[in-house]
């Protein structure tokens, strides 16, 4: 294994002087770690913007009728909240920020296969983000179609749909290029001796995700182009008034957007598989089962898209087929959850902040997963389709799943990335706020949805008032928690104590290099002899 860099030669990637200076040393850097950090900053900024919009939505729902905004503004705010959170936060989230930073280090490489393509990918992300947000301020007004751009309304509305679609098109390219880079890097740049089954499970998750990015994203690209052409030239592919088929749009949209759900969650599951062995000091239970389950989820995930469309009027045969396949996804997901819990069993658990995030993830994701069975079932879906139940389910899996693990990853790798440490007590304090606020907000929405409260409505009936009020209070508690969390990280970054090289006792390769790492990660490329969690098996780390 690689030894720490000699103190006299050590220059971290943060202090490294390349051919560019000042801000350009960041904006034009092809170093995977700097690009990862820039993504991370972008993602946190967009997350804060999306969270603010979400808080405005919940404030509006405090009372029936108008509270702070009119209905058209409400439509625009929930659309923008969705677009920012989906396309700019959780899709790039873990792969672009932590994948970029840690994939090369964890496989013993100096960088990704195509560093310049990586930088291009980052800039496409920024351009796409700016275009999406600029649709707010340009003539035509903010878009009001929801993040799923359903036709025929997306064709007929006068708001800036084409610009927002074009932004999503560009963001898709960014995602494809990152995927290509990761697939190539995993195939070509693994350290000597690191076979596929000696790779850390986070790398398996990134690898599976990268394949989905490469194969599924072009479908949404083509669909977006078709909607733009339809808006500009009225070619009649989706518009029923011109002989088009609006359900075809839903098929094409979800052929990408359902696998995209796995683009969002698989990397998070990979992070969980790293954090649990570290904080239980045990070799992961069922390494191969977890690795194969990532591939199975990626594969089966392609064939379940129409469960978003059970009430759209598609054929009964299709509904039965897609319902069946949807239930199949539960198998590899269950494999993962049971293996994680089995790893913890009799482990020497050290309940540090990243582990607490993971524990919270398992609870929230399981609630989200089990309520997914209600939605995957044809009969019950008819009752709760298009209600708050769907919104709550989605937020339990994506927010309680991916975003919580995004923050788990940030707390886990923060000392490695910045060489600084945050205050653990404040982070735990924030976690309590987040957990209580999250469940108060979203569990209430399950009940509201079951009782018939439709999603995306600006107003509600008097009988929903109490639960709407409780849900909004939950939102404020949760936002408070996130503000404390982000402030604590910023404080740690600026004034925190120096972090050790391996504060958690991790055994994967990133913990063998200094904190923060040097520009080329390793003085000498390591030679791998054992699986990633082997050392726990031998009991060398207690």
């Amino acid at each position: 294994m690689n030894k720490s860099a000699d103190a006299s030669n050590y220059v971290s990637y943060l202090d490294y002087k390349g051919k560019h200076t000042g801000i350009w040393a960041w904006l034009l850097s092809t170093d995977h770690k700097r690009i990862g950090l820039m993504y991370l900053m972008g993602i946190i900024v967009f997350f804060t913007a999306g969270m603010t919009l979400g808080a405005l939505l919940k404030t509006e729902m405090l009372t029936a009728g108008r509270t702070i905004m009119d209905p058209q503004t409400y439509n625009a705010v929930f659309t923008l909240h969705g677009i920012i959170m989906i396309f700019l936060v959780i899709i790039p989230g873990i792969p672009a920020a932590f994948g970029n930073f840690f994939l090369p280090i964890m496989i013993g490489a100096k960088d990704v296969s195509f560093p310049r393509l990586n930088l291009l990918s980052f800039w496409l992300y920024i351009i796409g983000g700016v275009l999406a947000l600029s649709s707010l301020f340009l003539q035509g007004g903010p878009i009001d179609v929801g993040w799923s751009f359903y036709v025929p309304y997306a064709i007929r509305t006068n708001s800036n749909v084409s610009l927002a679609l074009f932004a999503a098109f560009i963001l898709g390219f960014s995602s494809i290029l990152t995927g290509l880079n990761f697939v190539t890097t995993v195939h070509r740049l693994r350290a000597p001796g690191m076979t596929f089954f000696k790779m850390p499970l986070f790398i398996w998750a990134l690898y599976s995700t990268a394949w989905i990015q490469v194969i599924a994203t072009p479908v949404v690209g083509i669909t977006i182009v078709l909607v733009i052409l339809e808006r500009m030239f009225g070619i009649g592919i989706f518009d029923p008034a011109l002989g088009g088929d609006p359900i075809l749009f839903q098929h094409l949209f979800w052929i990408y957007s359902h696998p995209a759900v796995y683009i969002m969650i698989l990397p998070a599951m990979g992070v969980v598989s790293e954090i649990i062995p570290t904080f239980t000091k045990r070799e992961i239970f069922g390494y191969k089962a977890i690795a194969y389950s990532s591939l199975s989820i990626a594969f089966i995930g392609y064939f379940v898209w129409a469960h978003h469309m059970f009430t759209s009027g598609m054929s009964d045969i299709a509904r039965a087929v897609f319902s069946l396949f949807t239930f199949l996804v539960a198998i590899p997901s269950g494999v993962k959850v049971f293996n994680w819990v089995a790893t913890m069993y009799k482990g020497s658990i050290d309940a540090k902040v990243p582990f607490l995030f993971v524990a919270m993830f398992i609870v929230l994701f399981s609630i989200g997963g089990l309520t997914g069975l209600v939605l995957g079932n044809l009969a019950t879906d008819i009752h709760v389709h298009g209600t708050y139940f769907v919104v709550a389910h989605f937020h339990y899996v994506m927010f309680g799943g991916t975003v919580m693990i995004l923050f788990a990853a940030l707390h886990y790798w923060f000392p490695k990335m910045f060489g600084k440490m945050y205050n653990e007590k404040i982070a735990k304090f924030a976690l309590v706020f987040i957990f209580i606020g999250f469940n108060t907000m979203y569990f209430t929405m399950f009940i509201l949805g079951y009782q018939g409260m439709p999603r995306r409505y600006w107003d509600y009936l008097p009988e929903f008032h109490n639960l709407q009020f409780i849900s909004a209070i939950g939102a404020f508690i949760m936002v408070t928690g996130f503000l404390i969390l982000i402030f604590n990280l910023l404080h740690g970054l600026l004034k925190g104590p120096k972090a050790e090289q391996n504060p958690w006792g991790g055994v994967t390769l990133e913990w063998t290099v200094p904190s923060p790492p040097t520009i080329e990660n390793f003085d000498e490329i390591p030679v791998i002899e054992h699986g990633p969690y082997h050392i726990y098996k031998e009991g060398q780390i207690k």
Partner: protein
């Protein structure tokens, strides 16, 4: 690494030009037959010509014919997924 060295597969200009002309010919054929009504077979005929064109492009222009078989495997995997997506969509469109 692939055992093949690049030198073994240097291709002259002629095959590229021949394939290019063939592709143009097939494009003209696609446009020409659109003037005839094959009924339900129209899309199948158009797809067959498109598949022939793709095979030329993938094998020669993309060098897949001369490269490691793993790349061919990747392309086939992507095509299989595409095919399954089409079949699954058809379970709706043709039984609605």
């Amino acid at each position: 690494m692939s055992a093949h060295s690049e030198n073994e597969h240097v291709i002259g200009y002629m095959p590229y030009i021949t394939i290019w002309l063939t592709l143009i010919g097939l494009t003209i054929l696609t446009v020409s037959i659109s003037l005839f009504d094959f009924g339900t077979l129209t899309i199948i005929v158009a797809m067959i010509i498109a598949i022939i064109k793709s095979i030329f492009v993938i094998n020669i222009f993309m060098h897949i014919k001369y490269d490691s078989k793993v790349f061919l495997g990747f392309i086939i995997a992507a095509l299989v997924i595409l095919l399954v997506c089409l079949v699954f969509t058809a379970t709706d469109v043709f039984f609605r």
